[in-house]
Symmetry: D3
Subunit: 135 residues, 6 copies
């Protein structure tokens, strides 16, 4: 079993805001992350796939194909976008890194057919990182 | 003469859009950077001050004070903000990294009184960086 | 289950020295790390907390609160200090990265009440890292 | 149980080519990685050893000794070499990062006698990483 | 005047060998860099262009276009190649980082027509970097 | 003219303290950097040499030799040391990064005989950097 990781980056905006709560409650919960016009990040996404290297290629998964899947399914839909306004699949979630990672998992997991999706790590800043493993 | 650099980070949104041009022209010029709701970055700002180390401290400038100046004059006004909507001093400029660096210079230069401001470097992504030296 | 990591840094000195052994034995065991006046590092501490994102916030743990806990319990006590002389909770341990990580765990584990402490990673240099998971 | 990681770097060339297949099939499978004269990378190798810190040293394993083992068993044989031509222990494998990591494991695992080898991570580029844990 | 930098990466092989000298002299001069089959690096190339931001865009140079120029003129010709065998424009030079930077300058300088090429920085490893400014 | 940079790292302790002043004045000036037992850093030192590449080697300076000079003249004397107590050539200076860089320059400048020493950059933390160019 080998774990193969592909790192990608994208730039996006988000606003942390729970529409079920008042503006005051949102400010208490989310502080400056609740700023109405939003703010943004250079996100780093690490996608890890596990499996046995195939005998003819020595690859768990061809990273050119994994790169293509991540681009088509994720980056093309979130890069240079605003999570709250432009990203259909995030419409029902508060776009915290935790929730973004869980939604990305649902999208990517069925598309990975060589090996199995093992982990998604999403860096929001150089100090804040989340990981989701489908558990 | 010694050059002292303080690195800071902030997260903000921007949209590249020239109001003197049509939407079509903006899309041609700025492509996905013209997305109406904006997108964002983890900016890295490097402020360099030059001068002679002072004999009693060995400092060109006390970095705790430089840190405080950068926080008060810049970070408190741009971190977790949208450059186009929330930042008064950027209201008349297209918020490219080039223009942001030039405006930051105008704000910081008179506030640095130990040594002289030498350079501002602004990293928009890990691949795109601008530098302004007041020339 | 999502794993959330907060990265912090601090600068400290230490000396590797076992008082139960002779100076010669200490030099054999610890080499230049046994230098009597000590030496120092820019440590990087990564604290990982695991849990379910809460439905009202989308957070496993509010990173502003986690940051505050790490600052109050750890950074305020070790930053710009000498582990062997200034840090009460390290008085009985040789301050290797391994031992520092285990002591940090004992301090932080009961303070984390949203989610559970999952892992501490402590980088002593860019080439040397330890991780402790409470096992 | 503590996990201790030592990071090393080396520079090497490789060519991805399966001699059981035609040149055309190799180009389809490996694309520009099949370039006959090869290409190269600054590989980063992270070796993780797990164990209990020893009471007299506070070390799981003396990192000076681990560094020496990695140098003697791995780096001296692959640094500034071409994996396909110069590295005896890779002669029968396509030198993908997956296969390199598995062969490094076979070499290093019996040499680590303080603690146990837990994981090898091999970074081929800043975006492509593999990990092998002996499973 | 603003300085704009675009960072790119490529992976290539090279061998340091002066055909005017004997094999023994080459080994003395270039040591393990003279290994006949070559070795490789993940090179990082930083291209800096200086100029005044244009009033309609706020750009010194559109980084999408700079990226395209670098890709077409440099990366497509050196990425996943061997400098000594596959790169026509390096045929007459020993492919040290110094010489590569100077040849890249000759190629890129006339292609940059918005602003002027100011500096090329080429990182061969994380510890070895060269810069050429056309002087 | 090409600029060649070699990056090195070392770990050391220091205390900022001016013996001509009272303890109270030192605390006001240097705050937590005046802690009596000192604290430490993983310093990064970047040494830049400028010159013309030599026609037989393509090198401005052989980086193996530059590495050896830096090790012998600097690293062997400061790595795993306390600047205030163990480093003879710093005895008369407050060991700020500014002063360390200036003293390193005096030591290294006459030892560099291929090319000329152009710049020393010393990173004290990831946020604080000084540069000295002998001006």
């Amino acid at each position: 079993m080998v774990y193969v990781t592909r790192r990608s980056t994208f730039s996006a905006s988000h606003r942390l805001y729970n529409p079920a709560l008042s503006d005051e409650q949102n400010e208490v919960l989310f502080d400056k992350c609740a700023n109405p016009m939003g703010h943004g990040h250079n996100y780093i996404l690490e996608v890890t796939v596990r499996g046995e290297p195939q005998s003819d290629t020595g690859y768990v998964i061809d990273l050119k194909q994994l790169k293509e899947i991540i681009k088509r399914e994720i980056l093309d839909k979130v890069d240079h976008k605003h999570f709250n306004h432009d990203v259909a699949f995030m419409k029902d979630s508060i776009p915290t890194a935790e929730n973004i990672a869980k939604v990305f998992w649902k999208i990517l997991e069925p598309k990975i057919t060589e090996g199995k999706l093992h982990s998604l790590r999403l860096h929001e800043t150089e100090n804040n990182v989340v990981e989701y493993r489908g558990e």
